[in-house]
């Protein structure tokens, strides 16, 4: 029982990271049809932002804010320099562009900072534990669940209640029509990238707080999982991305905790087999994106 509760916290915390990354991918994909393979490097850049600000002596809380800002700036810079010029190109050209951006950034991180992990040390009090009854929980996983929920609630509010959010939902349906109304599509796309960057930045904060280091591949593996989450949830569907992210995080942690030791090396294979089974059952994903009448 104790193990199950603790693992549930871990599962939700990891699932939350995947969900935020998947949501960032889905927001951008739904509007510009870009599967952004460089999304992981946005997260990595956020991690280096935290690392460098600590090196330069900023207090930890400031370092986290700088990390978030770094991720947002990186997302906007990618959009402006690489993806805007490719607007309207087919999905494959966009995908290859994002591969290129991803590789360039990884090499820059390796050569500019270090190919090896660099340590991020937060105050010891952050990595504490607390008791509920007889059960011990980690502070960081718990806080990360709360942060994830707050981020998802904030994003839902933004999409449902603000004009920017309406414009993003409209752009996902018919961006030309949005332009015909006199709304600047470039600005809407930039807001979408900024949001995806912010979510990747929050993921970077949680990831580094739990692992205590940054390396050039930091964002790559979680974003790979987030890709799988968006496909599992239904490509382009925001609710699906969140659901897929949590599903993958939960299955992964449960597999880690409860699989017999001999099967442990096959953990990823087992998780992916479950994803394939889910897609055979629902080929368009768990919560498919609404089909709009115009292509």
């Amino acid at each position: 029982m104790e193990l199950l509760l603790q693992q549930t916290v871990n599962a939700l915390s990891l699932g939350g990271v995947y969900a935020m990354l998947a949501l960032g991918l889905a927001i951008v994909f739904s509007i510009v049809r870009l599967i952004n393979f460089a999304h992981g490097e946005i997260m990595t850049f956020g991690g280096y932002g935290i690392f460098l600000s600590l090196v330069f002596g900023f207090p930890p809380v400031a370092a986290l804010i700088i990390g978030l800002a770094a991720a947002v700036v990186m997302a906007l810079a990618m959009e402006r320099t690489a993806f805007r010029a490719m607007r309207g190109a087919d999905v494959v050209s966009l995908l290859i562009t994002s591969f290129a951006v991803s590789e360039i950034l990884k090499v820059l991180f390796q050569n500019g900072i270090s190919a090896r992990p660099v340590p991020i040390t937060f105050p010891a009090s952050w990595s504490g534990t607390y008791q509920v009854g007889d059960i011990t929980f980690g502070v960081v996983p718990t806080v990360s669940i709360l942060v994830t929920l707050a981020a998802l609630a904030g994003l839902t509010f933004l999409l449902r209640r603000t004009v920017s959010g309406m414009a993003m939902r409209a752009a996902a349906e018919d961006i030309e029509m949005l332009r015909l109304l006199g709304i600047r599509a470039n600005r809407v796309v930039a807001v979408a990238f900024a949001l995806s960057g912010l979510l990747a930045g929050i993921a970077a904060v949680i990831w580094t707080a739990q692992r205590g280091s940054v390396d050039p591949m930091m964002g790559f593996f979680p974003v790979l999982k987030a890709f799988i989450a968006t496909v599992l949830g239904g490509l382009g569907s925001l609710g699906g991305a969140v659901l897929g992210g949590f599903a993958i995080g939960i299955v992964e942690v449960l597999a880690q905790a409860f699989l017999p030791e001999t099967l442990a090396p096959y953990r990823d294979a087992i998780v992916l087999a479950a994803v394939i089974a889910a897609l055979l059952w629902r080929p368009d994903g768990l919560l498919p994106a609404a089909k709009t009448s115009r292509s």
């Binding site: 414009a167 332009r179 015909l180 109304l181 009448s293």
Partner: protein
């Protein structure tokens, strides 16, 4: 008074295909010009070029006396133009109210936007009844009302209406044409693209017929109505 819209010698190409060739037409201020012709004649391409959404290869577009050739969509909207496009293109997943709010956001004044939105709900009571429903659930006629109301949110002086009656039930078609007349009586200039030539010629002050991307005929509606040759060639709908 200067013309609401003046298109001069417009050329538009899609790759090697010339979709519009040397088209000139005028919408006088406060009047309705009907742009008629068969499917594929270049009507929608012409209208989309005026709205700023098609690349103009040659020629000019001026709106209320100001040269707007090649201007982006948002500049065109700010110059007083709005479009109710072919196929209506309401945002299906947004509610009726959200469709209007979004269109009104270009006014840059939320009080004015809300006031304008109430006016639209009053003018089209069906939209008020359905304000919280996703626009995708409306009937074709209701979606057309929404498309017109959405265009009117930015308080345009020139309205581009592309095939507003297409696919609608006959009584809905009458209602749409009644709206066209109402708007004209309120002083809004209108470029009306239609396949329904008979009804368009009833409401229009001036008409232009396109065929294969070129102007085939133009003049007063009465004259075009009685031109049996043209009728047979281009207007049989």
């Amino acid at each position: 008074m200067e013309n609401a819209l003046e298109i001069r010698n417009l050329d538009i190409r899609y790759g090697a295909v010339q979709a519009v060739r040397d088209v000139s037409l005028t919408v006088n201020a406060g009047k309705v010009t009907a742009l008629l012709g068969a499917n594929g004649a270049g009507k929608t391409t012409t209208v989309m070029a005026v709205a700023g959404a098609r690349k103009i290869a040659a020629g000019s577009v001026s709106i209320f006396g100001k040269d707007m050739t090649g201007a982006p969509e948002d500049a065109i909207v700010r110059s007083g133009v709005a479009i109710s496009p072919e196929g209506r293109r309401v945002f299906a997943s947004l509610s009726v109210e959200e469709n209007l709010t979004l269109a009104g956001s270009v006014l840059g004044d939320s009080a004015l936007m809300a006031e304008r939105r109430s006016a639209m709900m009053e003018r089209f009571p069906i939209l008020s009844e359905r304000r919280t429903q996703p626009a995708g659930l409306l009937s074709g006629g209701e979606q057309q009302m929404l498309a017109v109301a959405r265009a009117l949110m930015s308080m345009p002086k020139l309205l581009l209406m592309d095939e507003p009656s297409l696919g609608l039930a006959p009584q809905m078609v009458d209602q749409i044409f009644a709206i066209v007349e109402e708007l004209r009586n309120e002083g809004i200039s209108i470029l009306l693209v239609e396949q329904n030539a008979a009804l368009s010629l009833e409401v229009a002050d001036h008409a232009v017929v396109l065929a294969n991307g070129e102007v085939a005929a133009e003049g007063l509606p009465e004259d075009l109505k009685n031109n049996s040759l043209l009728h047979a060639a281009y207007l049989a709908a």
